[in-house]
């Protein structure tokens, strides 16, 4: 039977994040947390392989205690086991230290396939998946749109800007999933019951993860945030409300002024 590990991240729904128009700062209160969409596609891909061929699907997340919620959601969708890597020592990690920590945790589990999402909507780096594969010493295929298991390999359709590659990659391997890959299933009532009543989320603290101190957390992060600031908003321009023809004339005159026409 195949062993599949799916890495998922709990993220704030950035579509719901708003800026305070006066201070220009983020309003974070009341912003719901969700399972990162690309990760959910990776989970769905794993569950489909399980449905078709049989597999043990283990989900792994790194984050604060609240990340338990996305692991329970994954269990309710059909994952078999869940692991939460959670310890202050892991906090403040950049993608390098994050990938080294999660890779070390994953190395404790049996795996033929590791799924990650292409990128998380709160960071958008798309770095943790390929970096994890490097730490694990396995091949990675990014931007997967289709996946099939054939013998000891995966056949993956890999997206580029103007083309696709169809590649054969030997297991064990890591695949980064795109939301285009599939439409994730919903949790079932039975699944939710079992996720909260029958299944466990195993918490792994610092001592449970076989990784060197120099490769975790803020101290193990090659990059540092020097400063962060709200984006300077461009000054508001001119907005007019006229009848349609006058508006068209107005725009034509502006395009003339700017030598576009």
């Amino acid at each position: 039977m195949l062993n599949i590990v799916v890495c998922i991240k709990q993220v704030p729904d950035t579509n719901e994040v708003r800026l305070d128009p006066k201070t220009g700062t983020l309003i974070r209160e009341g912003v719901p947390s969700i399972m990162n969409p690309d990760d959910k596609a990776g989970l769905e891909a794993a569950l489909r392989i399980k449905d078709e061929l049989g597999a043990c699907v283990r989900v792994v997340s790194m984050g604060p205690a609240q990340a338990d919620a996305v692991l329970r959601e994954a269990l309710a969708m059909g994952a078999d086991e869940a692991y939460l890597i959670s310890d202050r020592a892991f906090g403040g990690a950049d993608t390098w230290a994050t990938s080294s920590t999660i890779a070390a945790a994953v190395s404790k589990l049996p795996y033929d396939i590791v799924f990650t999402g292409r990128q998380a909507i709160d960071g958008d780096t798309a770095q943790v998946g390929p970096q994890m594969a490097e730490h694990l010493g396995i091949p990675n295929v990014s931007y997967a749109e289709e996946i099939r298991v054939v013998g000891d390999s995966l056949i993956v359709k890999r997206q580029f800007e103007n083309s696709y590659q169809v590649v054969r990659v030997k297991m064990p391997c890591l695949v980064t999933a795109l939301t285009e890959l599939n439409r994730p299933r919903y949790m079932t009532p039975g699944g939710i019951f079992s996720a909260y009543r029958e299944k466990q989320v195993t918490v792994w603290a610092r001592a449970d993860v076989p990784v060197d101190d120099s490769n975790i957390g803020l101290k193990g992060s090659p990059t540092r945030v020097k400063e962060s600031f709200p984006k300077a908003l461009k000054g508001k321009g001119e907005v007019v409300t006229l009848d349609a023809e006058a508006e068209a004339d107005y725009l034509v005159s502006k395009l003339r002024e700017k030598f576009v026409i």
């Binding site: 950035t14 994040v17 800026l19 983020l26 950049d94 993608t95 390098w96 990938s99 909507i121 709160d122 960071g123 958008d124 780096t125 798309a126 770095q127 390929p130 970096q131 490097e134 396995i138 091949p139 990675n140 295929v141 990014s142 997206q159 580029f160 800007e161 103007n162 083309s163 696709y164 590659q165 169809v166 590649v167 054969r168 990659v169 090659p222 540092r224 020097k226 400063e227 962060s228 600031f229 709200p230 984006k231 908003l233 461009k234 508001k236 321009g237 001119e238 907005v239 007019v240 409300t241 349609a244 508006e247 068209a248 107005y250 725009l251 034509v252 502006k254 700017k258 576009v260 026409i261």
Partner: protein, 337 residues
């Protein structure tokens, strides 16, 4: 002297597919020239591929001082492992101070793999790169939280300092005909292992796709367009202006236009000379992809739409009336002149 004095030069990974260099590589060389000037060093273009030596001239004319050429059958088509091995070998040998990659589907696969192998930091999707005058460090600024916040990142204790930059963000240097780069062929030994994949097939995407990040004029439609048919108005307007059509995520999700045309956080970053937003309310994720445009015009029914906060000129009204009239008047104006 600092601990990194042996690390020198600004290097750019040159992305070529089938012998054609991606525009973003020239944009990065343009930016690398500015950084190299501040650091008192040169620009090296790392050209990986098979039978690609002929591309070195173009790289020289576009600003590279040196071309490091890794030419090998193993690099004929892009695959993560041999390319990561090539870049890792180049970095180990030449010890660059800075390495830049395009944030393309290739660069965003290759650069993290290389960063993990080299053990150095990598900052994704930078919108601004500059040298800190005091420390000589690379300051890498990127949007965070879906474009709500900007963060400046440094990589103080590891070299090279590496960053990816989206296409269309930096500007290429002026091409100087006859300017030559010094070409350094660099031999790398490739040995197949389990990390190599096998390419079974390459499928071109249907219809000659348009790279909107390279367009000077974009006419962009959003949810307010209401239907696929209504996009014809935008094609007509774009045609009158000599521009291209793009779209917001809402229009792409509705199936009215192809994903290739999407501007924004999960689409492309554009900075055309003129961006006309039609029926686009202006979610932060969309603004993040187009706000650097030189001139922004918005047409929207809702006067409170956030797009008006960044538009240079906005009109509140019915796009179904305004757009065809505008197209007609632009055609008339052009016919006069």
């Amino acid at each position: 002297m600092n601990q990194f004095s042996e690390y020198k030069g600004v290097y750019v990974f040159v992305q070529q597919v089938e012998g054609v260099i991606a525009p973003v590589s020239f944009e990065l060389i343009g930016k690398a020239r500015e950084l190299a000037k501040d650091l008192g060093t040169g620009v090296s273009a790392v050209l990986c591929g098979y039978n690609v030596a002929g591309l070195a001239d173009e790289l020289g004319e576009c600003g590279a001082d040196t071309v490091v050429l890794v030419d090998d059958p193993a690099l004929e088509s892009y695959m993560t492992e041999p390319y990561a091995h090539a870049m890792h070998s180049v970095i180990e040998f030449f010890k660059p101070e800075v390495v830049l990659y395009g944030a393309t589907t290739i660069g965003r696969d290759l650069a993290p793999r290389v960063s993990a192998r080299v053990h150095t930091g990598l900052t994704a999707d930078c919108t601004k790169l500059e040298i800190d005058k005091e420390t000589g460090r690379l300051l890498m600024t990127r949007p965070a939280f879906g474009g709500n916040l900007m963060a400046t990142i440094v990589c103080p204790d590891f070299r090279p300092q590496m960053a990816t930059v989206r296409p269309g963000v930096m500007q290429r240097a002026e091409r100087v005909s006859g300017r030559r780069a010094r070409v350094l062929p660099f031999g790398v030994k490739f040995e197949k292992n389990d990390r190599y994949v096998e390419i079974l097939d390459v499928i071109k995407k249907m219809n000659e796709s348009v790279d909107i990040s390279q367009a000077d004029i974009l006419v962009s439609g959003g949810r307010g367009m209401g239907s696929k048919e209504n996009f014809q108005m935008l094609y007509d307007l774009a045609d009158a202006l000599g521009g291209r059509v793009s779209a917001s995520r809402a229009a792409v999700d509705a199936g009215w236009v192809d994903k290739e045309l999407q501007v924004g956080q999960t689409g492309k970053t554009v900075r055309p000379k003129l961006y006309i937003a039609v029926g686009i309310s202006g979610a932060i994720q969309h603004l993040a992809g187009m706000e650097e445009s030189d001139l922004i015009i918005a047409i929207n029914r809702d006067e409170t739409a956030p797009i008006f906060n960044i538009a240079d000129y906005g009109v509140v009204g019915d796009l179904n009336k305004v757009v065809p009239m505008l197209t007609e008047k632009i055609r008339a104006a052009k016919a006069e002149s």
